[in-house]
């Protein structure tokens, strides 16, 4: 699904990723943890193709294709999805319009007819219910005036509608109450399949109680310094990140 080798990237001229390796196979769920400012979000943006994020070395292959050469929207159409840590507002553009436009863009890319409005609406309403948001939100501007938790749920809806091959969730569990955590978990688990891969960036191992990851990685200063299974997350919770640098 995704093969990253020796990835180096700059943000605003400053090196952030410093030789990162990661291999994700179809069907796998990976958790990425690490201290603030270690480059977790940067990795997500580099994969998603955020303008201004410059790749200075290494390679990324996504479903066998060179990801670096793909435009941002091309990556999305090929099935790469990023749930943002800080979703922006787009006033005046309704969630309904926005969702329909992205679903249509992906359908078109697959050479399929756009979904008819009735089934689209039915499906979208379902998704809102699934993440415990009032379907009335469909009429509101994208993230416009949403609370922090509502924004996160809105990201999940987009993910569920687009059914990505690779979903990267950047701290979608942060700032959520306990019930919401379960909502996130259910959404992600409903997406799990042998053809899909999921990357969860998180600070809290409790999310991993609900979504059992196949691998846990620790990102520190732009590199993956430690990989393991779920027990690594528990260990981290107990001992903190300092423990890792001590071990090194």
């Amino acid at each position: 699904m995704l093969t990253i080798k020796n990835l180096q990237a700059n943000v605003e001229g400053k090196p952030i990723l410093k030789g990162l390796d990661l291999e994700i196979k179809p069907g796998e769920v990976h958790a990425i943890m690490g201290p603030n400012g270690s480059g977790k979000s940067t990795l997500g943006h580099v994969l998603a193709g955020r303008p201004g994020y410059e790749i200075t070395g290494g390679s990324i292959f996504f479903k066998g294709e060179n990801l670096i050469e793909m435009e941002t929207e091309q990556r999305a159409r090929n099935g790469l999805f990023l749930a943002f840590q800080y979703p922006v507002e787009i006033p005046g553009v309704s969630n309904m319009e926005f969702l329909k436009a992205s679903v249509d863009a992906l359908q078109e890319h697959k050479g399929e007819q756009p979904m008819d409005s009735v089934s689209f609406l039915r499906q979208a309403r379902e998704m809102y219910k699934q993440v415990d948001l009032d379907p009335g939100f469909l009429k509101r501007g994208v993230n416009e005036g949403f609370s922090g938790g509502e924004k996160k749920r809105n990201e999940l809806i987009q993910m569920l509608m687009l059914q990505p091959a690779l979903a990267i969730l950047d701290e979608t569990d942060s700032g959520l109450d306990i019930d919401a955590l379960q909502v996130v978990a259910e959404a992600v688990n409903s997406l799990r399949s042998c053809e899909r891969s999921i990357v969860m960036i998180t600070h809290y191992q409790r999310l991993l109680d609900y979504i059992k990851p196949d691998f846990v990685h620790v990102l520190s200063d732009g590199k993956i310094v430690r990989s393991g299974d779920k027990s690594l997350a528990l260990e981290l919770e107990e001992k903190g990140y300092g423990w890792i640098s001590e071990v090194e």
Binding site: G49, P51, E73, A76, F84, I90, S102, A105, L162
Partner: protein
């Protein structure tokens, strides 16, 4: 105008930019009283109208071109313009369609405006004005059944002289301003509408203006009279060929809404805007004003995307008590376009109400200014105005300005003004792209969202098309 017509107004890369190869009677460039006499004679006008034109011309000579607008352009040489051009054989005004040059019909068909009634969109009557003359008006007999008069103004002068004489120049006088005076002197054609008392016009009326000849100006004059208790909705659309030199379009539109009547006037203006380097394009200097009598309601809706320069302030004089004036505007500028547009609401009657919603979008190196005046005279007690003007910037090289003027001489008047400026941010574009949308689609979606309040005022079938027009006009503004 049909949906298809609008599609053509807005087509990619200015598809309306072709030239029709047709022989024309075009007057040599220059303006004097002989030229005016020629135009008047060509149209077989009565003496009073000739005199009216000459008076306007003499006023014009005393006036200077206005320089207060936030626009820059080289001084116009009014002697380098031809003031009359008509497709050969059409100077006598519209005949039956059988006599119209097929080349002309083909032009309108190409623009998506079939003039054969059986092909036209049901429910929309069209007056087609080509350079200086009206070449065809559809659905006239159907309208006549309702007593509605819909014809070219030249024809109205002949057929309904009392109506024309009674109302022409009563809303925009001959000496109103420089361009209105020029128009009054040389106006060639335009549309005339009269809705009789208590009649609800059975169909949308529309005029499609087309400039074809090089080095000509278009000076159309539109006069719409809604008699007591009547209702009409009118839509105009405009295109012109792509030419390297600038062309002048100085129109005057007068609306008379008598007691208890309602006029909805919508414009989709897509004159050629010039190329991406700012060469060529139409100078659109237009005076539009409505006079609202007691309980009357005048509403202007405009979507302005074309023209190199737009100078235009559709206004309402709220003369009668309880009258209502509205102005809904989307003005989009890209590349080197300049727009200075807005509205004037003059409250004279008691309990008069006005609303101004202006949405300015600037991209490229363009400049977009809102200029508005809300005036309340001492006797207009209970007057209310709500003004909202929002600017949206795309990129870092464009500019937006707001010049609101408020003159209130009545303490009971309530005037509210709100203004915002926002920018299409890189983060917003990135979010859209991450969801599979191309940047241009994203911008057009954001812009459409921004304009929603105005689009909902357009006749239904045109609202979607207006959105597409913005999309096309924004081409090249991102990425």
């Amino acid at each position: 105008m049909s949906k298809q017509a609008l599609n053509h107004i807005i087509n990619n890369e200015y598809a309306a930019g072709f030239v029709t190869d047709i022989e024309s009677d075009t007057l040599p460039a220059g303006l004097d009283e002989d030229v005016i006499a020629f135009i008047s004679a060509k149209k077989d006008e009565p003496e009073w109208l000739l005199q009216w034109r000459i008076n306007a011309y003499r006023e014009w000579l005393k006036m200077a071109a206005p320089d207060w607008a936030h626009v820059n352009f080289p001084k116009i040489d009014f002697d380098a313009i031809s003031y009359y051009s008509s497709p050969k054989g059409m100077s006598d005004g519209p005949k039956s369609l059988e006599e119209v040059d097929p080349e002309l019909l083909a032009t309108y068909a190409k623009l998506g405006i079939p003039l054969h009634e059986q092909e036209a969109l049901a429910g929309v009557a069209v007056d087609a004005v080509f350079d200086s003359v009206s070449i065809a008006t559809t659905f006239r007999s159907k309208l006549a059944e309702a007593g509605v008069i819909f014809c070219s103004i030249s024809e109205a002068v002949k057929q309904y002289p009392e109506l024309v004489k009674k109302y022409l120049g009563t809303v925009v006088s001959q000496a109103d301003n420089f361009y209105a005076a020029l128009n009054s002197a040389v106006f060639s054609d335009g549309t005339f509408v009269y809705i009789p008392k208590d009649v609800r016009c059975p169909m949308e009326l529309s005029t499609y203006f087309r400039i074809n000849e090089a080095k000509t100006g278009q000076f159309e004059r539109t006069l719409i009279i809604a008699d007591e208790g009547s209702y009409v909705s009118y839509l105009e659309g405009c295109t012109a060929p792509m030419r390297d030199e600038n062309q002048l379009h100085a129109a005057v539109v007068e609306l008379v809404a008598l007691n208890d009547s309602e006029i909805k006037y919508s414009t989709v203006q897509n004159w050629y805007p010039g190329d991406a380097a700012g060469k060529g394009g139409i100078y659109n200097f237009v005076t539009k004003r409505g006079l609202a009598h007691k309980n009357a309601h005048i509403s202007w809706t405009q979507v302005e995307t074309g023209s190199a320069i737009t100078w235009k302030y559709p206004s309402v004089i709220l003369l009668g008590d309880n009258s209502i004036g509205e102005f809904y505007s989307v003005a989009l500028t890209n590349n080197y376009q300049q727009a200075d547009t807005g509205s004037k609401m003059i409250h004279i009657g008691k309990n008069t109400k006005s609303t101004i919603i202006s949405k300015g979008i600037s991209a490229g190196k363009s400049s977009n200014a809102y200029r508005g005046l809300v005036k309340v005279i001492p006797r207009a007690s209970g007057a209310r105005n709500y003004t909202q003007c929002d600017s949206l910037l795309i990129g870092d090289t464009c500019a937006a300005h707001t010049f609101p003027y408020i003159e209130s001489s009545n303490s009971t008047a309530v005037i509210e003004h709100e203004a915002t400026t926002s920018k299409v941010s890189d983060e917003q574009l990135y979010l859209c792209q991450q969801r599979g949308l191309a940047a241009e689609k994203a911008v057009s979606m954001i812009v459409n969202g921004f304009c929603k309040e105005v689009f909902k005022e357009l006749p239904m079938e045109f609202a979607v098309e207006a959105g597409k027009l913005l999309e096309v006009s924004l081409e090249g503004s991102v990425g």
